[in-house]
Point group: D2
Chain length 263, copies 4
């Protein structure tokens, strides 16, 4: 399928790396010169074009992670793909899963979930901030993933979830311990609860709560994805890396898990 007017494409080459929207009649500026959008339309993905300065740039289909990191709007700190990957795989979330995500923030995690539960699953995204819901909706629309998502403006700690028997609930909020009783109600009896928090103060509160209300198989990990320079003559890790995002705490509900608030 050739590239069409309105498609997003990933441009790569000679230091250029960006996702652009191809709009007939427009010009794309890069650090290696200018490309006419019209010269891209109709090409096969994987083609190369030349900038006006003569540099060769490849035109590729962006991956979902390219779209998120380069095109999505942000209203809050986002969950990075490395953590999303670990959350999804560690929780067994896959095609057909029914998952709640609270709060949605900018919708990065919601989008990754929607991508992986397709075509038969469903994601329920909660946030108490309407700007978050609005931005998340916009991002999901751009990514073509809104079809698999319900977005709900609602405080899950006080008002609860509208679903039950969910396969997994993800809590990404400042005070997740307050939402755990309602998350328990929303989960299937052996469902997976994932809590994502940045500080060890929060870790202690979450682990204490999980212990008290009776979650089992409690695991905690933090994920480091170290990026390398790949120039063949000088291979080495990047000097500066994002060394901390958050702690992932993954546990399982049982029929014995209480929905009473923890002390």
């Amino acid at each position: 399928m050739p590239i069409r007017d309105g498609d997003y494409v990933l441009l790569v080459g000679d230091g250029v790396r960006s996702v652009i929207k191809v709009t007939r009649g427009s010009r794309v500026s890069t650090i290696r010169g200018v490309i006419n959008a019209d010269s891209i339309i109709g090409l096969e993905y994987g083609s190369t074009v030349r900038t006006n300065l003569g540099y060769e740039i490849a035109v590729l289909r962006p991956l979902i992670t390219d779209m998120l990191l380069e095109r999505a709007d942000r209203v809050t700190q986002v969950i990075y793909p490395k953590d999303a990957a670990q959350i999804i795989v560690s929780s067994g979330i896959g095609p057909g899963s029914r998952v709640a995500d609270a709060g949605v923030g900018s919708g990065f995690m919601t989008a990754m979930l929607a991508y992986y539960v397709r075509p038969t699953g469903r994601v329920y995204g909660y946030d108490k901030r309407d700007d978050a819901i609005r931005i998340a909706r916009k991002n999901l629309e751009m990514l073509g993933l809104l079809e698999w998502v319900e977005l709900r403006l609602r405080d899950v700690s006080t008002e609860g979830f509208l679903e039950n028997d969910l396969d997994a609930v993800i809590l990404d909020m400042g005070d997740p311990w307050n939402a755990i009783p309602n998350a328990t109600r929303a989960l299937r009896p052996d469902g997976v609860l994932i809590v994502y928090v940045p500080t060890i103060n929060q870790v202690i509160k979450v682990l204490n709560t999980l212990h008290e209300v009776g979650y089992v198989d409690v695991k905690m990990v933090d994920v480091t994805v170290r990026e390398w320079k790949t120039e063949p003559s000088e291979i080495r890790p990047q000097t500066w890396v994002n060394a901390h995002t958050g702690y992932l705490i993954i546990s399982r509900r049982t029929l014995r898990t209480t929905t009473e608030p923890a002390k």
Copy 2:
């Protein structure tokens, strides 16, 4: 749906953590005592049972990673879930993707791929060792994932792949540089090539080859997932961790990528 004779279940509690197959009339030994399989059959997932010593054990649906790590047979070094997660998400592999995996080894990566390309995608698993193909088939069958996989006893470096226009090809073999020309032929023009190697000697050869034949957007990462002790009174990282598995090299084909062997 209640637990049936023949199901696999995850037992968790008081230091017990194992996946067992429920077989009517059998007895399950744990470090906390014995459980009669018959007392599990018919229960809802999320129930708890008592061992003959009085310990409470939860009975849960195993996740795919539990099945792989606890029940799958191994014929070779395997790709761990942490790396599989990163490979899948970094390559945009998802429901509907068509992916080749060479070599399949014990089939861990193949299984993770099959799980995530369901229900409309397909995985083509290659290995030149027939014991690998045999073990992988057995593992995929146990996991209920064989339906989405073609296994092929074939040396991709010398004989090539049978598919083309694939979304992604994963090379997990000792000499992946020798398979890159055939992988290029099998990929769609902007397809994703993932190479997984454990040593830096291999890293250098792979990066040199990718550079010479014209892959673009070459990225390399290594993934560390640090596990923590989650006992609320003594929270700390585990002392000993698996600190190195392999390097993930992810790159994109273009129409300019040559299928000539690198020098």
Copy 3:
């Protein structure tokens, strides 16, 4: 100076790596065969000897870290050289420093301190367990470092330190927050306090206490030293590493730091 009867030597070669005491008339067994101690006596350090099976083994002066890791007795969890190195350098401890170390445990940290404050400094090692004091003394004697150390059987939390105006105090104990007021009394007005704890529960208590009593320039680090396989044909990190020992919390006293107990 040639190797003498009674010296410790490091044997290295073909998979052999151990520190042995050379005792006239004795035989040393290695995984590569036997060496007569008499054939080592009188050699220059750096010489090689042959085992009875024909393997060449180098005979080297052991470093202090070799002696600690291979010959010292252990009565408790020890501070590893990687952490000792970071503690010493981050605290400015060097030749001439006067330092207290509580508790001494097996004396590993005490020994490293003694090695680096020589010849004009002094280390005061405290422990409330007499088996710790006894083992530490034995280890320091073997290492030839006892001359620079005073060992004291005493509970610093309740009985305090006997010194004052110290350059640095190191607290390596289960409840270091209880010893901070006495450590403050023992330090010079701008002295360095180092606290070493394994869990984040302890981290929170220590940081709260330091904050309350008025320590400044509070830093916390954890140190990872990743070891690699160095076989030229297969260079890669070791698979299993000791990924967590403890957190180092380093801060400075001032004249405003209170010696009242924290709330």
Copy 4:
């Protein structure tokens, strides 16, 4: 000993952290207001002063690492304290050691070595660039460490070292493999060779050379010191860290080590 005109002091408090030289009659600007140098002179270290805006700032003796990181001039990439600490401790370098350091660059490693070999050891610093020698001399003078160092403008790969029977030689240069034969000549027969390189391309060349010429007990490590935020209410690792500086390769000479160049 009170603070005198001309001393360096470390100012710490309310977000201020800097090393300044106290000069009678001068004013020190901080982000929390101005301090008159004269109000610092005569104070005891550990005192606090107030800025004109009323903030309390502690006045401390700077540690050697504070001086290096805040006051030393840089002409090249420097060896960081974390790596210097590991090099020194892993090599048994301490009071009395005789060590060569090539090249000296900005003199950071040379300074750390001088600090730790005092008062009876000696450091021989080599560089082929005269600006490096000049800057290193200036830094060592500022630190009061020049007394223990000989600086030599000389290319050790082609001209060799002037010493022999050294306890340790440190090679921190782009092509250390070319200097290994001369380093071997300069070391005592069981001396310690430390090579510090940033890329894995260099790692492979160094390990191959060490293997060919017969170094033993070859170890390689990389050191990560993760810094944390220490605000008691929000304890977490710093987000961005310097994740890669270089690889440390530490090995031992023997009498069998050849000084012929490697193939």
